[in-house]
Amino acid sequence: MNELQLKDLYDGFRDPKTIRMLAKEIEELAKGLDETLNIMEVCGGHTHTIMKYGLPQLLPANIAFIHGPGCPVCIMPKERIDHAIALAKMENTILLTLGDMIRVPGSKTSLAVERAAGHDIRALYTPMDALKIAKENPDKKVVFFAIGFETTTPMTSAVIKHTVDQGIKNLFFHINHVLVPPAVDAIMADGKAKINAFIGPSHVSVITGAKIYASLPEDYNTPVAVSGFEPVDVLQGILMMVRQKLEGRAELEIQYTRAVTMEGNLKAQQLNDTYMRPRAHFRWRGIGDIPDSALELRPEYDYLDAEKLFADILPTEPIDDHKLCICGTILKGLAKPMDCKVFGKACTPNSPLGSCMVSSEGSCNAYYRYAGVLG
């Protein structure tokens, strides 16, 4: 193979034979491990790959997965979903957001329910469409409810730049962008978490660079492998970490070298810096308050900030998940979804009680859907 075809970028990294070969190699090497490797895949995209390709069943018992908090929809606390609903219910308003967010229940209803009730709520394919919608509806307030990890933040920043540069007056932003490293620290903080290896996110790292995980190996003595999203990538990342353990190393390595560098996308990072800054507090659904774990608009852009402009109608009371929900404990690897009393009974993907059942990238949801693991 001398010239790369688009097809190779898909098929090459999903090849069943390569998957089996890598799994076998991991199995051989893992015999030498003196403790179970409890790998947290921080990102929901990895959770999806791991479950879809049945990697836990392919790998030996001493390689275990702990599904991380990395799904932007799952970590959104109910009070902020209530914000989106309150904004959507304002007179003469169009509320915009991305993907799954529409379905997730807040304290009483969801955006989908409110849309069915007649409010103008739209899920965008790209944040860029917000500009078009604002221009086409000059007599309406258009509010973009921006969600996502570091991967999606620069896209919001690009839209803010256009809004500022073009002097658009009716487009406002409710920023819910969150950051990976503080969430990982919060999970590891009390020293109880069983995690002793990390698969670093693929596309968060494309933007931020692998450098954002530099302190993890030192702080927690854990190997980190920044891996791509395909099953071959994930397995190769695991192989790298097994090797580190066997050799007594705890280092940051990049498996996904075809897309991730140490530095990341500097242009995107600068764009974010121009419009956003760290937010002192953000409550993560299932984890709780984490300082400096999210972003907000810089004060120069208060005139675009829906949270400030419409503060009087936005609820401020924190709303927790059901008290039976043990998502926080599951995230630390101290419990499995099946240990939850309401798993699959009162709590299902159609009526989630807790954050990890909310989207296909959450651990309870993944266990529920891939029935094989239900046993």
Binding site: M1, N2, L4, L6, K7, D8, L9, Y10, G12, F13, D15, K17, T18, M21, C43, G44, G45, H48, G70, C71, P72, V73, L98, G99, D100, L124, Y125, T126, P127, M128, D129, G148, F149, T151, T152, P154, M155, A158, K161, P201, S202, H203, V204, V206, I207, F229, V232, T257, R258, A259, N265, K267, A268, L271, S359, E361
Partner: protein, 97 residues
Amino acid sequence: MCLSIPSKVIKIDEETNIATVDTMGITRQAGLELVESEDVKVGDYVLLHVGFIMNKIDEVDALESLKVYTEILEKLDEEERAQAVLDDDNCENRGTT
């Protein structure tokens, strides 16, 4: 939702700063705001995320990884064939079945 898809750049409109990309037969438009203009050219492989090009995929690197996997697989295949011949030579029922 962070799943980003590899695509190939087939056209760049410098005026609108928008690229046309091919994602396995589907043609889409993608914003170029997040990449330096000299970095992305027609024919390049890129990652697409919510309507923007996020970066360029390192072609040499991708080819190199795929080559390594193919080589290991070929080596394993060869070992398997050699083992099969060996097994046949040592077969206790040789000539009896």
